[in-house]
Amino acid sequence: MLKGVLEGCVLEIISRKETYGYEITRQLNALGFKDVVEGSVYTILIRLEKNKLVEVTKKPSAMGPPRKFFALNDAGREELKKFWVKWEFVASKIDQLKGV
C-alpha cells in the first residue's frame, strides 16, 4: 500500500531541506512507518536521480564513505506538485467509497 506513495513522501521530505538517505529513512520511521528500511528509500533516491528530479552533492561524512545529499530541482518540485494533486484525488475517492 505504502509502496506507491513512498516516492511522494521522499520528494516531500527532500523539498524541505537538502538531506541524505539515512536521515530520510529515520524521518519516515519517526512518522510511524516502522518497516521502511534504508534500502527502500535508497532505490527511490536512485530513481529520482536517474529521472533528473534531484541535484546530488557528495559530502564527506564522519565515518565511512562520502554521503550523497539530495536537493529538489525545478523538475522535482513540479513532480512533487503532481504527486499532491494525484494524492488529493485518490484520498477524496477513497473517502467517498468509505462513505465519509
Partner: protein
C-alpha cells in the same frame, strides 16, 4: 548505432570496465562476510535480468557497494539495509536498469499499439 559500437566493440572501454570491476570487487571483499554474501546474491540475481551491454547494471552494483560500506560504518546488520525481502529490494533496483523483462513489456505494448492503436483502421 553509435551506442552499439561504443558499448560492444570498444576495446578501451572493455579494458577500462574490467579494471574498474576488479577494483570494485576488492571493495566487496573488504566488507564483512554477511554483507559480501548478500551483495553477491543480489548481483547474481540481478544479472539474470540484464539486457544490453549491462554497463548500467554494473553502475547500480557499484553504487550498492557504497550503500553497504555506509551500513558497515554505521554498525548495521545488512538486512537492516535491504530489508528481509531482498528480492523486493532487487525488483526496485531493477527499475533503474535496462532489463529483458522491460524490453518484453515494451515490445508487447508496441506491437499491439502498432496493430490496433489509435489512427489504425483495423478493428
Amino acid at each position: 548505432m553509435g551506442d552499439f559500437f561504443d558499448n560492444y566493440l570498444n576495446i578501451k572501454k572493455i579494458i577500462e570496465s574490467k579494471r574498474e570491476y576488479k577494483q570494485q570487487m576488492e571493495r566487496v571483499a573488504a566488507l564483512p562476510e554477511d554483507y559480501q554474501y548478500v551483495f553477491k546474491k543480489i548481483q547474481g540475481h540481478m544479472w539474470m535480468f540484464a539486457a544490453g551491454s549491462g554497463y548500467d547494471m554494473m553502475e547500480i552494483h557499484y553504487d550498492l557497494i557504497e550503500l553497504f560500506e555506509a551500513g558497515v560504518a554505521d554498525g548495521k546488520h545488512v538486512l537492516e539495509i535491504t530489508g528481509e525481502d531482498v528480492a523486493a529490494f532487487c525488483d526496485e533496483l531493477l527499475r533503474s536498469a535496462s532489463t529483458y523483462t522491460e524490453n518484453w513489456r515494451e515490445a508487447l505494448n508496441r506491437d499491439i499499439l502498432k496493430k490496433l492503436g489509435k489512427g489504425n483502421e483495423s478493428k
